[in-house]
Point group: C2
Chain length 330, copies 2
């Protein structure tokens, strides 16, 4: 962590506070309430608001202003929340960030329609910050959404496929997680007036950040402190998810260990009381350290992507942000 981190944290928090305020105001008084109340419910769910911040900082580092891209920043947060609304239905999740998921608070039909509306509302907000560049910006935005859908479909496929390689896994998390962070950086950069070279650089930053972020997510599932994490530890194992840790363990395991891991696949998960056993197996096979190495590798790639960008406060913030994400505990 570098000595300026408190200053960067202040910038982040102050911008996120503005985003929160705008999210709060966005749908106030809109009719029909049966649609906009559930939209507001999910948007009030908090979270890191990482994606809007990526839009802001990507615009500023290429010479744009925060104030010219707030609507685009809202737009990416709306898209993120659309994915949460629909993914939670598909994953049959009851709780998100300590509150009932949208389809549990209301019902599945409402959650479907809310997600749909969030997509269209996202475009509506994005356009407010577009000018001559709208075609390119909307195209990047759209590509991000398509890739997220493709990623979600790949992730669903993983549930029934048994021959997933680490390469398959990386392709899936690229689409499911990294493509959206890449899109945030790309949209911000374009609205900020980036050259093609800088646009590419920032897109790569978002992409690598996203891959590191997702592997870190897999790692936190088994390593986090339950209280801080806000979710059950070992949930991925309980659900038999083919995470980085699991696939890497499967790659390295021999004999009985391999049999144990294949049993997780065959039984589509484990019972809660077996978590400790599998965590110990991960430790024995050293896959937690493998994951750490991957996270560090992709974070370095993210930082390196920025090499052609000018030195200064924004670049430092983007370095700091990458570090914060890989040292987070939730």
């Amino acid at each position: 962590m570098n000595i300026h981190s408190e200053r960067f944290k202040k910038v982040y928090n102050s911008e996120i506070a503005k985003i929160e305020k705008r999210l709060d105001k966005l749908l106030k008084g809109k009719e029909p309430q049966s649609l906009y109340e559930p939209c507001s419910y999910i948007l009030r769910g908090g979270g890191k608001r990482l994606r809007p911040f990526l839009v802001l900082i990507s615009a500023k580092i290429v010479g744009g202003n925060f104030k010219d891209v707030y609507n685009a920043a809202l737009a990416v947060e709306l898209i993120h929340n659309f994915t949460l609304a629909h993914d939670d239905i598909m994953d049959n999740s009851d709780i998100r960030r300590g509150r009932l998921t949208l389809h549990r608070k209301y019902d599945i039909n409402t959650a479907i329609l809310t997600g749909d509306s969030l997509i269209a509302l996202a475009y509506e907000n994005l356009l407010k910050d577009c000018n001559d560049n709208s075609k390119k910006v909307v195209a990047a935005f759209t590509r991000g959404i398509i890739e997220v859908c493709e990623g979600q479909s790949l992730d669903k496929d993983f549930e029934t496929r048994n021959n997933i390689s680490i390469a398959d896994y990386k392709k899936m998390i690229y689409k499911k997680t990294a493509a959206l962070l890449k899109m945030c950086c790309s949209v911000g950069a374009q609205l900020g007036g980036a050259s093609n070279e800088r646009l590419r650089a920032l897109s790569n930053y978002g992409k690598f950040l996203g891959i590191a972020f997702q592997i870190q997510d897999d790692l936190l599932d088994i390593m986090a402190e339950e209280r801080e994490f806000g979710k059950t530890i070992g949930n991925d194992l309980i659900e038999g998810k083919k995470t980085y840790l699991f696939l890497r363990a499967l790659e390295k395991a021999k004999k009985e260990d391999k049999v144990d891991l294949l049993r997780v696949i065959a039984k589509k998960g484990i019972s809660r009381n077996k978590i400790k056993k599998y965590k110990n197996l991960y430790i024995k096979l050293d896959v937690l350290n493998d994951a750490e190495r991957e996270i560090v590798k992709y974070t370095k790639l993210a930082r390196k992507s920025l090499s052609s960008l000018p030195k200064g406060e924004e670049k430092k913030i983007m370095y700091w942000l990458a570090n914060v994400l890989i040292t987070r505990s939730k």
Copy 2:
């Protein structure tokens, strides 16, 4: 019907055949198959392809060319199919156009994700036909999607609300059905280079056409020949839907007739063997003719909207189209 109708029908059918071909090719070979196969399934479902035709003809009447708006025409058909995919989940429908609905053919999760993808794919295709005008075109497109979502939400509200007026009903069908036809005309007109006056004229044509179209839909539900219609006659009554016919009957009914209608609301529908009884009540209260009058009124308004547009083949086709829609039997 006018004497040129065979010629107009030929234009329509020939353009729709091109749209079908392009829809067929659109997603060929795309990965992951788990996502694009269901997308193709719903797109192969046929239908009138009215919405893409509205894009084409609206572009041409203001001086544009069919060939410059085919992608936009595909885009509105993708949006229409997104609404079908998600509405069929919400309505728990098993069959559409003689085939299993998407969530019955696959599962609900697949149908949700397919619908989501169709939205993004629609934007991707729309952009192909946009140039300097993209901001305005994408805004009109987006507004259409937002209104469709609002309309679907109002329609869901109607299921549990008991105090629906004919005005409420018209507002709902404006959003649920007419807004999308209006958007098709607006997008086509803008891509064709329409002046603001002509853009307004064509948008109104689409809007009034949509309202007439939906009331006709309500009427067909009770009046169509079962074999030709392809759906069960009286389904709206079975499900207790608050259609134009039902609300108008409720407005006019007295004493026991009113009690009978209120019972439909209280019981959330009727059994199949009561359809004849309620059809006779509709006849007695003359609401079928009321519906006819409304349909004619809105069709005339649609035609009248075009008054400022130049005489010629396209205008004749748009008149013809309005007539075809209100004399259709399915």
